[in-house]
């Protein structure tokens, strides 16, 4: 993975010193709250319902054991012993004291971490496929490009005060696990006929109160033009994006109001101005950055290893279930990417205790080439494990309550913090997720239902990605009560779609029954167990679900 050079190290250290001074000046009265608030937000510090919240960046969701241990230490020393992994592959601490934040940032800097650009109207932490560098179906590793974008965008003077926040996602495979089409810029790595690397470029996707699927602006952008073209998009957005209304300020609105052809022409015009200059990406630099992400030395699969693994699965049904759901195909023979579900039945999605973080760090060091990923689905991943080691990893995970075999199933729910923590939320998310999880806890039932993504947001800002949930749930406040609106048919993969509202909302007490009704309806109409929920919904539409929920279409 990427290692800081002297510039990175000094940049992050000076930023910590700067923020320490800003906190000191705030507490001494030299800065008012109005002056201080934008400064703290630039360092990832929010004020939430109960306390401050610190959001720490995990660039493209990649970290090592040392970094994970530091997160655990921060959780234990400065917070309440746990952290919350987010849909943007970051981690949030929910209880830090403002006066401690400079010390926390100093500790994070020791392990090459920071909280820069985790808030504010700038280019946010670049996200990527959590199986990057490992997936069997990968065209190329997206992380070198995500890192290049990170370096280019960090404190970019022209793009530090954009009309609104700006999110970039990169996927390295045709099967999109990074939800690139619901980002401001989505990049999909591909090769042209000659085998050269490039990107399909999407612009103007987003969720929130106005969900939109991104539009394709380039079928194939050569690798060398990555920064020049991205800069052109940002320049056009920075110039034409609305600043009069924060709810209409994202690039998706600009795309919608301007139209694809005009906006694309604007981008291309700007691109012609900036290309073939300092922003051209030299091959040597791509190679230099890529070297940080070189695959670890995979051990060749030994004779009999596959048979031994098969025997282990055959002799342990729990292990077999875990392997069926939580192992993903790896590019190296004998290896797999292992999902550590942060969705134990009845627990808060994305939360991990300090002890669990430390166990994951140990496992990564012992069995996983010191690599850990955070997925946007709020799980952790050991991207490179030998299948032969999976039984032992499973045993250790089980001892820590981290062996839930539910990756991609109905209990693998995305949920934002909701009104239990978030100052913006209008309804609770986590308890709804917990109750759905408990309702569908039985492993056999979950597996019978099959692949099904449930995503819950506690307000219209959609941090829980409900618009792209196969079943999406949006919590709102209505006459002082929590109500939950169901959307169906959303998807955040290569066939992205925005879920459609199925009808009137359900009470807090009624939402779990409603979800069960939707699921039972699906089970009753699917053509075979191989027809998953989304496929069935796309075949039949919402009529049967409306009838089941409301007694009328």
């Amino acid at each position: 993975m990427y290692r800081y050079d002297e510039f990175d190290e000094s940049f992050v250290s000076s930023r910590v010193a700067q923020f320490r001074d800003q906190v000191r000046r705030r507490l001494s009265g030299d800065l008012t709250e109005d002056q201080f608030k934008p400064l703290r937000l630039m360092n990832g510090v929010y004020l939430q319902l109960h306390a401050y919240m610190l959001r720490v960046a995990i660039p493209y969701g990649t970290l090592n054991a040392r970094q994970m241990r530091k997160l655990a230490e921060v959780a234990r020393t400065y917070d309440r012993g746990y952290g919350h992994f987010t849909t943007r592959q970051n981690i949030q601490f929910n209880w830090p004291r403002l006066q401690d934040v400079p010390d926390i940032l100093a500790e994070l800097a020791e392990v090459e971490m920071h909280a820069i650009q985790t808030s504010g109207n700038c280019i946010r932490n670049v996200t990527a496929d959590h199986f990057a560098g490992a997936a069997a179906d990968e065209v190329a590793d997206p992380r070198p490009y995500a890192e290049i974008l990170r370096q280019w965008s960090s404190l970019h003077p022209e793009f530090s005060f954009l009309p609104r926040k700006f999110k970039i996602a990169v996927t390295g495979a045709a099967h999109d696990r990074a939800a690139v089409q619901v980002h401001d810029i989505g990049l999909q790595l591909m090769r042209d006929e000659a085998g050269a690397i490039g990107f399909t470029v999407f612009v103007g996707g987003g969720l929130g109160r106005t969900p939109m699927v991104a539009r394709k602006v380039r079928d194939f952008l050569p690798e060398t033009d990555l920064l020049a073209y991205t800069e052109a998009i940002l320049r056009v957005y920075n110039r034409y994006g609305r600043r009069d209304n924060k709810y209409k300020a994202r690039v998706k609105i600009l795309m919608h109001e301007t139209g694809l052809e005009t906006l694309r022409a604007d981008i291309e015009r700007e691109f012609q101005e900036v290309r073939s200059g300092v922003l051209d990406l030299p091959k040597a630099e791509v190679d230099r950055i890529s070297a940080y992400f070189a695959p670890p030395p995979f051990v060749p699969e030994q004779a009999g290893e596959a048979d031994a693994f098969a025997r282990a699965l055959a002799s342990d049904p729990a292990l077999a279930t875990f392997a069926e759901r939580n192992l993903a195909p790896h590019k190296a023979p004998g290896y797999a990417s292992l999902t550590i579900s942060l969705k134990p039945i009845g627990e808060a999605p994305g939360d991990a205790s300090a002890e669990q973080m430390e166990l994951v760090a140990d496992l990564a060091e012992t069995f996983g080439h010191d690599e850990i990923r955070v997925s946007h689905e709020q799980n952790l991943v050991l991207p490179h494990v030998r299948k032969a080691d999976v039984p032992e990893i499973f045993r250790r995970l089980r001892g820590a309550g981290l062996a839930e075999a539910n990756a991609g199933l109905i209990t693998d729910i995305i949920a934002c913090p909701g009104m239990d923590y978030c100052a913006l939320a209008t309804a609770r998310s986590i308890p709804v997720a917990q109750r759905i999880s408990e309702r569908f806890a039985a492993s056999g039932r979950q597996r019978e239902i099959g692949d099904l993504k449930v995503k819950i947001s506690g307000c219209i800002n959609a941090c829980g990605h409900h618009h792209v949930g196969h079943i999406g749930i949006l919590g709102v406040e209505k006459k002082g009560e929590e109500y939950y609106q169901i959307t169906l048919g959303g998807s955040g993969d290569e066939n992205t779609s925005i879920g459609q509202i199925v009808g009137r909302g359900f009470s807090y007490d009624g939402i779990v029954d409603a979800v069960e009704t939707v699921v039972d309806t699906y089970l009753g109409l699917r053509q075979s167990p191989q027809e998953d929920f989304l496929a069935a919904y796309r075949r039949v539409g919402d009529t049967p679900f409306k009838e089941a929920l409301y007694g009328t279409a």
Partner: protein, 101 residues
């Protein structure tokens, strides 16, 4: 019936204005404000506390009496007053005693 709430600057702790013009950590100790004059007076104290770097973001919340006990009308404020609903081990609900800010 209202109360005046804010977050404490140094650590973000949820606080309410009490009858002695202090900022307290438990809702039960909060001063109930009846009428515009009481609210205006409370806001003056809040402005002083903001200027004095004690609190941030003061605002009024609606209160009601339920079975004899005062509580915020909105669930959001009830959660602020106690803690995350699914984590009774966290927040104010996890600590029985109160103290003035």
């Amino acid at each position: 019936m209202k109360a005046l709430t804010a977050n404490r600057l140094i650590d973000g702790e949820v606080v309410w204005l009490d009858r002695a013009s202090a900022w307290v950590e438990t809702l039960a100790e909060a001063q109930v404000l009846e009428g515009a004059a009481a609210e205006a007076e409370a806001f003056e104290l809040a402005a002083a506390a903001v200027a004095g770097r004690l609190i941030v973001d003061p605002y009024l919340i609606d209160m009601e009496r339920v079975e004899g006990a005062l509580q915020p009308v909105r669930l959001r404020e009830r959660i602020r007053a106690s803690g995350p609903t699914m984590r009774p081990d966290l927040g104010k609900q996890a600590r029985p005693r109160s103290s003035a800010a």
